[in-house]
């Protein structure tokens, strides 16, 4: 699979896919998209990079162990649910704030935080499976 063309294109393709996955994640609340699908896109981006350039560069690029990313995602997701307890409303109730940044109103919510958690869990879990399968040298 390590053809020159594929290897040359893969880093750009991967960056674009990761960027796109974040875009999909962020727009998910109002347009088609969301954390799950975004996570899948990012995971396939990692898989493509791994197939093209080997697993080591991918592991270096994402720095953390993918399972660690996944666990952190679960933690973030749970935290987003627990946040509502401090506001005195039942677990997982969505909380919204609208801060204005440079004159633009930005909608932030615990729901978005939760979706980011979903994204991280999916990237980490699927990514680590794909990377582990790509590592052939180990056996």
């Amino acid at each position: 699979m390590r053809t020159v063309i594929f290897r040359a294109i893969a880093p750009y393709l991967t960056s674009l896919m990761v960027l796109f996955s974040i875009f999909v994640l962020l727009r998910g609340h109002n347009e088609p998209g969301g954390g799950f699908i975004g996570g899948l896109i990012a995971a396939s981006a990692l898989a493509i990079y791994g197939i093209a350039c080997g697993v080591e560069p991918v592991r270096r690029a994402i720095y953390f162990h993918p399972m660690g990313i996944s666990a952190f995602g679960l933690f973030v997701g749970t935290l987003a649910g627990v946040l509502s307890v401090f506001a005195g409303v039942p677990f997982m109730t969505g909380l919204w704030v609208y801060p204005t940044l440079f004159g633009v109103e930005i909608a932030l919510s615990s729901v978005l935080v939760f979706d980011i958690g979903v994204y991280l869990v999916v990237v980490g879990a699927i990514g680590s499976i794909a990377l582990a399968l790509e590592e052939r040298d180990r056996d």
């Binding site: 088609p32 969301g34 699908i37 197939i51 649910g81 794909a130």
Partner: protein
């Protein structure tokens, strides 16, 4: 009833847990001297509860608490009456002394901080048990004592014996806790109240209920396992694997008394029935005798004391079961006396071990010159244990004989049991207190000398307390015994007994006991040899039974696993899909709800047909592909076609996800293929192919029929209308699918992502651990095989 200082009581209940948090840090700074500071926590608790004594002595009951889970009517609430107050004082008072003692005993131990932490956690749990008013709070604390005692018993976790004892204690007492939960739920169902303080008014209702026996047996299961009643007594002596401060605490005033506490607490509710007044005395009496006989057999100081603890618990259960006024006051006095002398004697045993280097009574002697203070403390404990004046144990024993004495055969039998039990406890008490100290000096592994103040302070204080409590008996009765006896029996009672002996049957029985004890003491070595050979002939005990039970369970699960998991992947797949087929067809066949043949829609567009055609082509390619890789990619083609269909029919999110899932599935399947190094093409026999084909056809048809049947039902738009209407208003999102996933049903998604993560972990370990890797083979958890290789 009053609800004074609810905040203070709550803080006091949490104090041991808070102290446990800072303990490791404190111990790193101060070493074993941290004990002085840490003992302040139980001391503060003791003082706080002492503040209630005047009110409780006047017959008051203090309750308080907070709502915990209002929707289930569960509260975090406490009940302070004579019974719980006495227990709380014992737990915190002896707890403070034990913390100090631990500091001396484990001085220089690497994990002293951890030990203090466990100890304080246990203290908090135990305090919670006796203070709880709410059933569920009681249960939570009850199991917390099991868990923390597991940590304490297994503290020396590098030794297998400790680990075994810890697990055994956890299994027995934790299992009993589940029985208790069931019992409390039954009572909750009968009466509709979930608080002890309210339950006390519902005694008649519970006793009249057809579920009374069920509730009784379940509660007794909890109480008997915790309080080590025969035949569940075996975990208690094994728990002696723990460091001595643990034994001194758990087996004097706390852990094992929790069961007795429960029986006393529920006496007004479950008691005064034939069942109660038969089961409790019989089991208690049997435990009393078995415990003392087994104690005679031991030479280890701690084990001797452990078995007498078993018998003392038996005595307490027996007295609680009698339920008469005298029996209750006897139980109260004996409980307090036992907590004091047994705690002290355990500490003495640890002290001897610490200073002389052994606990074997046959290798000890003549220590009285080297350890005079210890000797005094030991004597005080033994005199109280033997029931001699002027210690609290004497009052207890007199009251026991007052309570039991009657001339009908049933009572006489128990009088005999009590005399023998008390006589043998007399023997053990003095064997522990005299044998190591009197006689010629014996060379011990360590050169013995008096221990530091941290070590002897505890036993000496407890000995003095037992003496003072007896000498000022009117005060003791006013503040401790009478309120506690009233709480147990459910009506006001006054305890009057004093240190001055009265003529009567009780005194004669006392004299008989003492005479019997002295004779038995002189014959101790012969009795011990006799018991040893007797036990040798029996050969089997519940302790062995526990091991057989556990290995039986492991064997059973091994056998079941071999049947349901033969280790062949194709078998699993076939079984799974056959089950799916059954699940699809069975309901339709059972209810006769087969779908009618669908009408071919008139306005099928050309591009829709084209997508269908692609899907069919993909499927055809899967079936006719020469090698597996082609088949996998072709399956992806079919999946993409389905994703296109979703897109055409207005489900962009679904389609989007389907595309990604198909892509990743193809990539991952292809990677798996290359890793497994399977042959490129399919080599199944024609027969296997036919079977697999029919299973897949049946499943496919089943799904098609099922979907047809579902879509032919009239569509109920209620839920989809709800989401469409409220998605923007309530959840500020226009993508209904996403809003459902992350907001309306967010908790579901939280569970799902947890599953995704765990699945990722599982797959990862499956990839890493191939069969034969690192010496792990299938069937390695097979108990038979493991024993062979040991």
């Amino acid at each position: 009833m009053s609800a004074s200082a609810p905040g203070a009581t709550f803080i006091v209940l949490m104090l041991p847990f808070l102290a446990a948090l800072i303990t490791p840090w404190l111990t790193r700074r101060l070493g074993h001297n941290a004990a002085w500071l840490l003992a302040l926590a139980p001391a503060a608790i003791f003082i706080h509860f002492l503040g209630f004594s005047a009110e409780v002595a006047d017959g008051g009951i203090v309750t308080g608490g907070f709502q915990w889970v209002p929707s289930y009517n569960v509260s975090f609430s406490w009940l302070i009456d004579g019974l719980s107050l006495t227990f709380a004082l014992l737990i915190s008072g002896i707890g403070a002394l034990i913390i100090l003692y631990s500091g001396g005993y484990l001085k220089g131990h690497k994990q002293l901080g951890r030990f203090f932490s466990f100890m304080l956690l246990f203290m908090g749990a135990m305090l919670g048990v006796v203070i709880s008013d709410s059933f569920l709070m009681l249960f939570v604390y009850w199991e917390l004592t099991s868990i923390t005692s597991f940590l304490l018993i297994g503290f020396d976790h590098t030794r297998e014996a400790s680990r075994r004892a810890a697990i055994q204690a956890l299994v027995v007492t934790g299992g009993g806790g589940l029985a208790l939960l069931a019992g409390l739920l039954v009572i909750w169902n009968i009466t509709g109240v979930s608080q002890v303080s309210l339950l006390l008014n519902y005694g008649d209702e519970v006793r009249a209920s057809p579920f009374y026996l069920l509730a009784l047996f379940l509660v007794l299961g909890g109480a008997f396992s915790k309080s080590a009643q025969f035949p569940l007594h075996f975990w208690l002596p094994n728990a002696m694997e723990a460091p001595t401060p643990v034994s001194a605490y758990l087996h004097s005033a706390t852990m094992v008394k929790a069961g007795v506490y429960l029986l006393m607490r529920l006496n007004p509710v479950l008691g005064e029935t034939v069942w109660w007044e038969t089961i409790l005395p019989v089991f208690g009496g049997a435990t009393l005798i078995v415990g003392t006989l087994l104690a005679i057999r031991q030479t280890d100081l701690k084990l001797m004391l452990a078995y007498t603890t078993v018998s003392s618990l038996g005595l307490l259960v027996m007295l609680t079961g009698f339920g008469s006024e005298y029996a209750i006051s006897a139980a109260v006095l004996y409980l307090v006396a036992h907590s004091l002398f047994k705690g002290g004697l355990f500490m003495v045993a640890g002290l001897i071990d610490h200073e002389a280097g052994t606990r074997d009574v046959t290798r000890l002697g003549g220590l009285r010159k080297a350890m005079p203070v210890t000797f005094i403390a030991a004597l005080a404990g033994a005199i109280s244990m033997a029931g001699l004046p002027p210690f609290l144990g004497f009052l207890a024993k007199e009251e026991i004989y007052y309570a039991l004495w009657a001339t009908d055969p049933w009572s006489l039998a128990f009088v005999a049991v009590a005399v023998v039990g008390n006589g043998l406890m007399f023997v053990i008490g003095f064997a522990v207190a005299l044998k190591p100290f009197l006689g010629p000096e014996v060379k011990t592994p360590k050169h013995a000398h008096e221990g530091p103040v941290l070590l002897w302070l505890g036993p000496l204080t407890l000995g003095v307390a037992a003496l003072v409590a007896a000498l000022i008996s009117p005060l003791t009765h006013r503040f401790i015994s009478s309120p506690m006896a009233s709480a147990i029996s459910g009506e006001a009672e006054t305890v009057t007994i004093s240190v001055i002996p009265h003529m009567g049957p009780a005194l004669i029985l006392s004299l008989v006991t003492i005479a019997f004890g002295i004779v038995a003491y002189r014959m101790l070595d012969r009795l011990r040899a006799g018991m040893a050979s007797l036990l040798q002939t029996i050969g089997w005990g519940p302790d062995r039974g526990f091991d057989q039970f556990v290995s039986g369970i492991v064997r059973l699960s091994g056998a079941v696993t071999r049947i349901v998991q033969p280790g062949r992947l194709d078998f699993y797949m076939t079984a799974t899909f056959v089950m799916i087929a059954i699940a699809l067809f069975a309901p339709m066949a059972w209810y006769g709800e087969w779908p009618s043949m669908p009408v071919w829609p008139a306005d099928v567009q050309f591009h829709e047909l084209a997508v269908f055609a692609i899907a069919f082509l993909g499927l055809g390619a899967v079936i006719y592909a020469r090698d597996r890789l082609t088949a996998i990619v072709s399956l992806g083609v079919q999946g993409f076609a389905v994703a296109l269909l979703f897109m055409l029919f207005g489900a962009p999110d679904l389609s989007f996800t389907q595309f990604m899932v198909e892509t990743l599935a193809v990539v991952i399947l292809a990677l798996v293929m290359t890793r497994l190094k399977l042959s490129a093409s399919d080599h199944r026999a024609t027969r296997d192919k036919l079977i697999d084909m029919s299973v897949s056809l049946v499943c496919g048809t089943g799904f098609a029929l099922y979907l047809l049947a579902v879509t032919q039902q009239p569509f109920n738009p209620y839920i989809s209308d709800f989401f469409a209407a409220y998605s923007k208003i309530v959840a500020h999102g226009t993508n209904v699918v996403n809003v459902i996933l992350v907001d309306f049903r967010g908790t579901d998604t939280l569970g799902e992502i947890a599953v995704v993560m765990v699945t990722g972990l599982a797959v990862l370990s499956l990839i890493r651990v191939s069969v034969g890797y690192a010496g792990i083979k299938i069937g390695d958890n097979d108990p038979d095989r493991r024993e062979e290789t040991r």
